[in-house]
Amino acid sequence: MTNHLKDIIESLIFVSLEPLSLDKIKSVLTEFSNKEIEEAINQLLESYSSNQRGIQIIQAAGGFLFATKPGHNIWIQRLLHGERKNKLSPSALETLSIIAYHQPITLAEISAIRGVDSTHSLRTLLQKRLVKIVGRKKAPGRPLIYRTTERFLAYFGLSSLKDLPTQEEIEKILVEENDIES
């Protein structure tokens, strides 16, 4: 029975275009206990990691999602007619990480931190739906305030905002950079 449940969950993750959360799986599979579901998911993840396969189940933005493996990128691009996924421009990335760490934040605050007007970068991020407007700040002028989206997490393969580079990781990079210079 649990084995069968594993298959059901596999098909649910498969038909989902967005990361499928554990809560969502539980809400669909009302016939099964939470324990049964969690066990089945573990079995499923186990079977994907232990067998050599062309596709994998990844965990991002708080859910499970099917995706290809990095090594097959060249052939997939060939199949999809050279379609490539473009990386973010340096200024868009800088703006995005400021929003990620300082959210909720206004455009003026972003520009102040960066020392440059960031309208253009913000527009790119809004259009890519990596950030969203979440309201207005209770301050003079009532400026719009921004946050990162679920899509932002999925874009970088993060499970939650807690997965953002930590202070320690950042310090490590800074130390490495200093080492290179001296």
Partner: protein, 239 residues
């Protein structure tokens, strides 16, 4: 690393004035906490001078930091009665900004690596053909999507309706006759095509109301196979 680049790099390679400042500090192997303001101000101005023309709009921020540097320099030159506290030290503001900026740069570095890994893996962008869905779903809707949808539509409308025929009056009755005539000649009418052929917003509105009237009178039927498919209008056969 940026430090390997020649001195003559363009301002464009820097994301902003803090980037440039950080570059100069690293180039001189200076500790951020202990910036020799005179030296670094000189370097910074020399750098700006190397640009033949300063694009004020683009580089105003670079000049702003230059001003700040000169201000700090002048403050340092003034004789003081007592040693400055950390909070009063004009350098401290700049140092804090630079430290924050440096952290963001490092975070970007890590995020860039994560992005590179993610770009190599692919997810499906639509359901496999097997699964039938009659609606394309939006993943996350923010206020921006909402307003963008509205204003894009308005813009499209403005462009479409440049022809305004003065003095021409449309009546619902005439339009109803026109629609019936079209339906008698053709098996059906594609409403969006018909709508876009109208000369003005007024005429389009009248057409729309006429169609609603015809539907209410059960003379025609409007059918949409599924969402986003064109609306087709058919003459109702009398039974």
């Amino acid at each position: 690393m940026e430090t390997q680049k020649s001195y003559q790099v363009q301002l464009d390679v820097f994301q902003g004035p803090l980037d440039l400042l950080l570059f100069l500090i690293r180039k001189k192997k200076i500790d951020i906490h202990d910036i020799p303001i005179a030296t670094i101000t000189k370097e910074y101005l020399k750098y700006l001078n190397n640009k033949e023309k300063i694009n004020l709009e683009r580089e105003a921020e670079f000049l702003l930091i230059a001003t700040l540097l000169i201000y700090i320099k002048s403050q340092m030159l003034l004789p003081r009665e007592k040693v400055l506290e950390d909070d009063d030290d004009p350098r401290q503001i700049l140092v804090n900004r630079l430290l924050d900026h440096q952290k963001i740069k490092a975070a970007c570095h890590i995020l860039r690596e994560k992005e590179q890994n993610q770009l190599k893996i692919w997810q499906r962008t639509s359901y496999p053909p097997q699964v039938k869905t009659d609606e394309i779903e939006l993943t996350e809707i923010s206020l921006f999507n909402l307003t963008e949808a509205f204003f894009s539509l308005m813009k499209k409308k403005q462009k479409e309706n440049i022809k305004i025929l003065e003095g021409k009056k449309y009546s619902i009755e005439d339009k109803m006759k026109e629609i019936i005539n079209i339906l008698n000649e053709n098996s059906f009418l594609d409403f969006s095509t018909y709508f876009t052929q109208q000369d003005s917003i007024e005429e389009a509105l009248i057409s729309f109301f006429s169609l609603l009237e015809l539907i209410r009178a059960k003379l025609v039927i409007a059918v949409q196979e599924s969402l986003f498919h064109p609306i087709k209008v058919w003459l109702l056969e009398e039974k």
